[in-house]
């Protein structure tokens, strides 16, 4: 896997003595450091370079999060079946550079990879929400605006997050990654409250479209390691990418995963079609002119996003979930950002509410094997 090396470290004034900044300065002694004023990012025009998004990824900014950390997952768009998931972001932007990544549009005018220094505030917020509602089960992920683990060897956030969740019975933390950076997890005891999940595509897609990520073999080796260390696993076949050999590619990928890890300790598997706004397609075309992901039979759907046309998408879902059921019959499965009609065609039923999907994914018997 590509090791992240920032071109510059920017520290907002007042944040220079925070634990995470001190850790990073020790670990990257040769990277130039600059103190910047509050809101520097907002006042700084987007770089005029050929690819400002790529340049921004290498400019590491430490700042405070001044808005609430805990948010409902934005995937719960009206009209689509939702799984009642929550997200928190200690990092905004990603050191990796997948050709299909939505951050290319979402953070297009963002000149940095931003790390929030106030993890203590995040933990306070989480404690307040989770402890105030002992009757509810929370699934909370950190992989919305960044990879959950790619920068963990540098930032060390998992050392704060894992013990926090390990101490609570009504919340699960999901660390979603395309990396193999799991060394920071191995000495911690997750007490069944942490799911480490991998986004999986066939190796030929990883090698050509998921730039700077761990290879398929590296991800699988890391999954085996964390499973042995007591973590539950998750797998996300999301985005599902339609390409000429998709059937062979996905079948082989599923076989290799479930012949390597123990399916009984997999908390969930999700599937989700590649989806892109028109603006994202334009950004992808500009940044990755040789990509093959735009060449599938994708059409504009009701929510404005482009997906593989429905009949083919349903065929892909049915085929892949069929193989998943064979390989891991007891593992709960769900779809991300799909209509009730597609749920019905693939799973034969539509959940009555987002809470029903969430309940299936947090049942104690499923997470406490």
């Amino acid at each position: 896997m590509h090791t992240y090396q920032p071109s510059e470290i920017l520290i907002e004034q007042g944040e220079e003595h925070t634990p995470v900044v001190q850790r990073v300065l020790t670990r990257l002694p040769h990277v130039p450091v600059r103190l910047v004023e509050k809101d520097w990012e907002r006042k700084t025009p987007v770089a005029s370079e050929h690819d400002p998004f790529a340049v921004g990824k290498r400019r590491l900014l430490f700042t405070r999060q001044r808005s609430p950390f805990l948010e409902h997952c934005p995937a719960g768009t009206s009209g689509l079946v939702c799984c009642n998931y929550f997200v928190v972001s200690l990092i905004s932007n990603c050191s990796m550079d997948c050709s299909y990544c939505f951050l290319q549009e979402y953070l297009a005018n963002n000149p940095t990879l931003k790390v929030f220094t106030n993890a203590d505030v995040l933990l306070g917020e989480l404690a307040s929400a989770v402890d105030r509602h002992p009757e509810r089960h929370f699934r909370i992920g950190t992989g919305e605006l960044s990879d959950s683990l790619a920068l963990d060897p540098l930032l060390g956030f998992s050392a704060d997050l894992v013990p926090f969740f390990a101490a609570r019975r009504n919340a699960l933390l999901e660390l979603k990654t395309k990396s193999d950076s799991v060394s920071g997890l191995l000495a911690l005891d997750p007490k069944d409250r942490v799911v480490v999940s991998w986004s999986m595509t066939p190796p030929e897609i990883i090698d050509t479209e998921e730039h700077g990520t761990a290879s398929f073999a590296e991800r699988l080796a890391a999954a085996r390691q964390v499973q042995a260390a007591g973590y539950k696993l998750g797998f996300h076949f999301d985005p599902l990418i339609e390409y000429p050999n998709w059937e062979e590619g996905y079948r082989d990928t599923i076989e290799r995963i479930f012949s390597t890890i123990d399916a009984r300790r997999v908390a969930w598997v999700s599937v989700g079609s590649l989806r892109m706004t028109p603006a994202l397609r334009t950004a992808v075309r500009r940044r990755f002119p040789r990509t093959r992901i735009l060449s599938g039979e994708q059409v504009a759907c009701g929510d404005g996003k482009w997906r593989t046309f429905q009949a083919l998408r349903v065929k892909m879902y049915r085929t892949i979930t069929g193989w998943l059921k064979e390989a891991a019959p007891t593992v709960p499965m769900y779809m991300c950002m799909e209509t009730a009609a597609v749920w019905e065609k693939v799973f034969g039923h539509v959940p009555s509410s987002d809470k029903e999907v969430a309940r299936t994914l947090t049942q104690p018997n499923l997470v406490g094997v």
């Binding site: 990509t291 735009l294 060449s295 059409v299 504009a300 429905q310 009949a311 083919l312």
Partner: protein, 177 residues
């Protein structure tokens, strides 16, 4: 400046193409640029249509291999350009041919649906319509009637197609690729 470059720049000025569209076109090999110039001159493509052509041509060649020049000289693309058709009809024919190449399975499915509807033989007072790109699950059935008897006759035609299973097969087509 080469003659080809000059022609393309002149065309871009005439049609007020955006710098981004022009840059994409000029990033191609000279053979591909020239082949597209022939097509755009006949079809008088403006910025929006040209962008669609660039997207589709790049996406097809990326997926299926070959060059844009080879694609544009295929009979289904080149023939309508030479036929005695209006500019709009030529554009429609070429875009449809390109769309079939860009979306081979979706186009096939759409043709099967059209053939399925035709085979129902419901007459011209009963209209079946499908969501665009077959994205969705609903078929709209529209029945026109001037009097009660006509309505009963038309409903009976539909009922007959329900009973013989041909409407069920049409719904099933939504899921078949």
């Amino acid at each position: 400046m080469s003659l080809l470059h000059e022609h393309i720049v002149t065309y871009a000025q005439e049609k007020r193409l955006s710098p981004q569209t022009l840059a994409r076109w000029q990033a191609w090999s000279e053979e591909d640029q020239a082949a597209l110039l022939v097509v755009v001159r006949v079809l008088q493509l403006g910025d929006n249509h040209l962008r669609d052509f660039l997207d589709w041509l790049e996406e097809i060649t990326t997926r299926d291999g070959g060059t844009t020049r080879e694609l544009l000289t295929r009979a289904e693309i080149s023939q309508p350009l030479q036929n005695a058709l209006s500019r709009n009809d030529k554009l429609k024919a070429v875009k449809e041919a390109l769309r079939r190449l860009r979306y081979p399975r979706l186009s096939r499915l759409e043709e099967e649906v059209r053939a399925g509807v035709k085979a129902l033989d419901l007459g011209n007072r009963i209209q079946l319509s499908f969501p665009p790109m077959l994205e969705g699950e609903e078929i709209t059935v529209e029945i026109k009637a001037r009097n009660l008897q006509e309505l009963i006759d038309n409903l009976s035609r539909v009922q007959h197609r329900v009973a013989d299973g041909s409407l069920l097969r049409l719904f099933a087509l939504f899921d078949e690729v």
